[in-house]
Symmetry: C2
Subunit: 325 residues, 2 copies
Amino acid sequence: MTEYKDIEAAAGRLTGVAVRTPLLSNRQLDDLAGGRVLVKPECLQVTGSFKIRGAYNFLSQLDPDEARRGVVAFSSGNHAQGVAAAGTMLGIQAAIVMPEDAPRAKLENTRRLGGEVITYDRYTGDRETIARELAAQRGAVVVPSYDHEFIIAGQGTVGLEIAQQCAELGMEPEQVLVCCGGGGLIAGTAMALKANYANVAVHPVEPEDFDDTARSLRSGKREHIDSSARSICDALQAHSPGEMTFAINEALLGRGLIVSDAEVRAAMRFAFANLKLVVEPGGAVALAAVLSGKIDTQGKSTVVVISGGNVDGEMFAEIQRAASG
Amino acid sequence: MTEYKDIEAAAGRLTGVAVRTPLLSNRQLDDLAGGRVLVKPECLQVTGSFKIRGAYNFLSQLDPDEARRGVVAFSSGNHAQGVAAAGTMLGIQAAIVMPEDAPRAKLENTRRLGGEVITYDRYTGDRETIARELAAQRGAVVVPSYDHEFIIAGQGTVGLEIAQQCAELGMEPEQVLVCCGGGGLIAGTAMALKANYANVAVHPVEPEDFDDTARSLRSGKREHIDSSARSICDALQAHSPGEMTFAINEALLGRGLIVSDAEVRAAMRFAFANLKLVVEPGGAVALAAVLSGKIDTQGKSTVVVISGGNVDGEMFAEIQRAASG
């Protein structure tokens, strides 16, 4: 089980590897929310998302023998880029199983970062099986995308930075909103935040029909999503909460918030026009939850994690052009 | 004449008003440049550009009688938004004379920030005359967009932050590239940088056909641009260097760099795809100079100022769609 000291150790390993992304404020956002809203833009992170944090923390702890045999990962794109980049930095060969309909930018960047890309059909193939077979053939280690203590500890450095940056600003965060796919980012982030601010509420935000964590938090057991579910948020399509992540999240999180594709598009437009940030759909859900009033922000201090910005130019342009979602 | 202590005083006034924008690094940019490149993204600033710095520093030093009579400014858009926002913060009425073909986002935001917008034809009207007549009618103070010691000192806080942030990173900037219209930003920035790093080279970057500062630095007198000149960079269309700004710039700057509209578009696409930043054309010229090899960056440490991100969604989408400039 991940502990707070593991997150601190991960922060040490990530020094000079991951960027300490800033904590931004924006007047329009504060005005709309009727309170103070701080934005943690992991779209500005190396490889364009937070995923390098967990991937590097995992790969840097392989023993020399494991490192020589290489790693295999399966990912819709952001974890793929994180693993590819971490592999290149550490001299470890990385093969990544990715859906063939992943954003072109994510496929191209994974290759450019030095990853070997193997594609499959998202709706018929089972990426986990493909990855495990490949790993068995090669004797390679599988890099889980969320359900591992090294991954959770690495992603948790986002929460550690938020805690430090709030302290530097002399303020206490009352609520923190984090996107949730498999739950690795929010598990580590909640652990780091709760260790510093016992009263902070940490809420997962998910796309409509991919609300497995929200439902699991209510029922107390790991719920699954329907295989017919579709969302613009390609980065948040895990089928159920992780075993390790849910054990942490069940203990630490507040209620789950749900946003629609239209609300995500509106948040991406807001980020373009006001924050001047390029945000991918899955990266925009926490911001969307604030903008669409899914949580009370009046007179409160709220932190919103923007998890990534890896979106194709064409899709981004189409969303900018559309007057409504 | 602006002095270094005026920039330090401006930084004090701007605390809690302007954002201390981060100094970002990006692996792709470092790889392309063959050296270390740090980006100062003033697109993340309040009102989406650095202009709030000078505007607030100016307005906050008006005496109560002047403040009561209000201010008038003329601007293609970023100074307009800075003056409107500073006016609203300080309770000072602000009228802004803007070209009717200014980006829609700039016109709308200036109104939304509380400014009274008066439009004119950029190619036939004289905005300075219109503004001065209006100011005379109202007894209002004109807020110059660059040629004033308070404006230069305010914009110089960009350079002060760069100097502080480089010190925090334990590195010395060898060259700093800054966009140049009337020259206020670069004059203040160069003054702040040179006070901290005597050997730093500060280069102005201008769009093709708007290279009045580059030519003036060569000839030693204030050159003018041709009235038929056109550029995608709406924010950098001053007709000649300012008197005060040129006196500073002549003493402090290295040679001027020139970029084409196509190079600016390519830099905007690079910023979207790799930096995840929304950058307006005028804000992208310094980045364009690095990407198009207008200056040697091999093995050097270079800081690039991105001055603003106020660009219409339609134009941004069109630039993202175009495969080449």
